[in-house]
C-alpha cells in the first residue's frame, strides 16, 4: 500500500533551514534529512520524534491458490 510522505521546510530569513519529515516511520525518515542536508549544508541540530521509533510499515500478501478438479 502506498504511503504518503510529507515534508515541511522552513527557510528562515537568515537562510537556515528547518526540515520536518512527517509520516515516515523508522530510519527511512533519516534518508530524507540526509538528502536535504546534502542539498542545503551542514546539520546544526537534529531531533528524532516518537514516529522514528515506530516500526516501518511492511505489508505481505500471501496468495493461496487451490486447484480443484472435477470428479
Amino acid at each position: 500500500m502506498a504511503q504518503q510522505h510529507e515534508v515541511e521546510i522552513i527557510v528562515s530569513k537568515t537562510g537556515d533551514v528547518k526540515v520536518h519529515v512527517k509520516g515516515v516511520k523508522g530510519k527511512a525518515c533519516l534518508e530524507y534529512t540526509k538528502w536535504l542536508s546534502e542539498v542545503v549544508g551542514k546539520v546544526k541540530d537534529q531531533k528524532l520524534t516518537s514516529e522514528y521509533y515506530e516500526p516501518e510499515v511492511k505489508t505481505r500478501i500471501n496468495l493461496h491458490q487451490e486447484l480443484k478438479t472435477e470428479q
Binding site: 521546510i9 528562515s12 537562510g15 546544526k44
Partner: protein, 155 residues
Amino acid sequence: MSAVVILTPVIIGGWPSIMAAVAGAASALGLVVKEQIKEELRQEQAVEQSVEVELANSEVIAQNLATDKEIVLVKGDVEIRVGRDERGRCRVCVKSKGKTKADMEQIAEEFSQKMTQCFVYNRVATELKSKGFQMVNEEVMEDQSIRINVRRWVD
C-alpha cells in the same frame, strides 16, 4: 512526527545559480540591476565609502567564472556589488555617499541574508521537484521566513 532537522546553509554553486539568488534578493529588497561588469573596466570613485562582507559558508564554483566578474545593484544612493573573491568566496560590497558605515554594514548583512535565503529556496525547490514531490503549500511568514509543504506517495 518523525524527525526535525535544522540545517545551516552552505552556498556552493556556479555563477548562474548565484546570479539567480542575487536577482531574487534584489527584487525582494527593491534593488535594480545596474550592470554586469569586469574588474578592469571599473572606475572607482574616491569620495564614496564602502563596506565589504564575505559570505563565510560560500563557494562560487570557478567553472566559467573569472574572479573579475561581478554584478552591480542600485537603490537610491546605495550601490551593491556581488562578486567572487580570489579565494572563491562570494563577496558583497556596499557603497554609498550618504550612508554611515553602520548603515552600510546593515545593508550588506540584510542583502547577504536575503541572497542566502533565495539561494537555498531555489536549490531546495529544484531538488524537491526532481524527487517527485508535489507542492501542497508555500507561504512567506511574518518573520520573512518561507514555509514550503510538499508530499509524495511512496510504495
